[in-house]
Symmetry: C2
Subunit: 134 residues, 2 copies
């Protein structure tokens, strides 16, 4: 049951393995809103409507979906306060908080290298144009 197939070619890493857990992560990180929500929740509990404002423009449906999946994965807790008007707080679990560091590193990479990426894009696109013009 627990046997995990290793590649037979002697290649490194399990990234190659479709069963590799890292794929699960990249799915979550890759989610358009999930990683943003996690980072917004870094400071502490936030209620639904505030979350909506903080995460640029996301529709309630999509935000709900995102939060549900995060909750299902044990990264976020959902707390309903029995009061009128209703109030629902979302907060990171310990598991969710453990993701903050890797995420922060990624953000740091982003902020320091995005200019280079954008420059590369321009250069690439220019080269393409030139090629077309002959």
């Amino acid at each position: 049951m627990d046997t995990i197939e290793r590649d037979t070619s002697g290649l490194p890493a399990d990234v190659l393995n479709p069963n590799c857990p890292s794929r699960v992560i990249f799915q979550r990180i890759g989610d358009k809103w999930a990683s943003l929500v996690v980072q917004v929740l870094a400071e502490g509990p936030v209620r639904f409507s505030d979350l909506r404002k903080m995460v640029s423009v996301v529709t309630p449906k999509v935000l709900t979906q995102t939060l549900r999946s995060l909750e299902r994965d044990g990264l976020v807790t959902r707390t309903v306060h029995a009061q009128v008007p209703p109030r629902v707080d979302y907060e990171l679990t310990a598991l969710g908080r453990s993701l903050l560091d890797p995420l922060a590193l990624l953000r740091a990479w982003a902020e320091s290298h995005v200019p280079a990426i954008l420059a590369a894009r321009d250069a690439y696109d220019d080269a393409q144009d030139e090629a077309l013009l002959g």
Copy 2:
């Protein structure tokens, strides 16, 4: 032109800003195959067909798309060797290699916490089932 709008609510982080560069990154990382390809290229240059084998099952079309976008972003170089049969090598640039560390951290997180995530999912799903059964 360079003015970047800050949130007026005194909230932290630029994640909230749609113009925030981190979004560019999460797009790239979130790409189903891009981050996998980058990690596979960590060891050194790899040719197209080998890449196909290494990155589980990806169609040539999609792999090409992925490589093009990585090339455009300056993370990967494409080298065509004029010979028969054709040989094309893909290799990380310095920029691409600089992404390896953040990626590795994410993978480490994945591999250590995925069991917890899967357990959380089971628990969540069970709770859902129970709720339905009354």
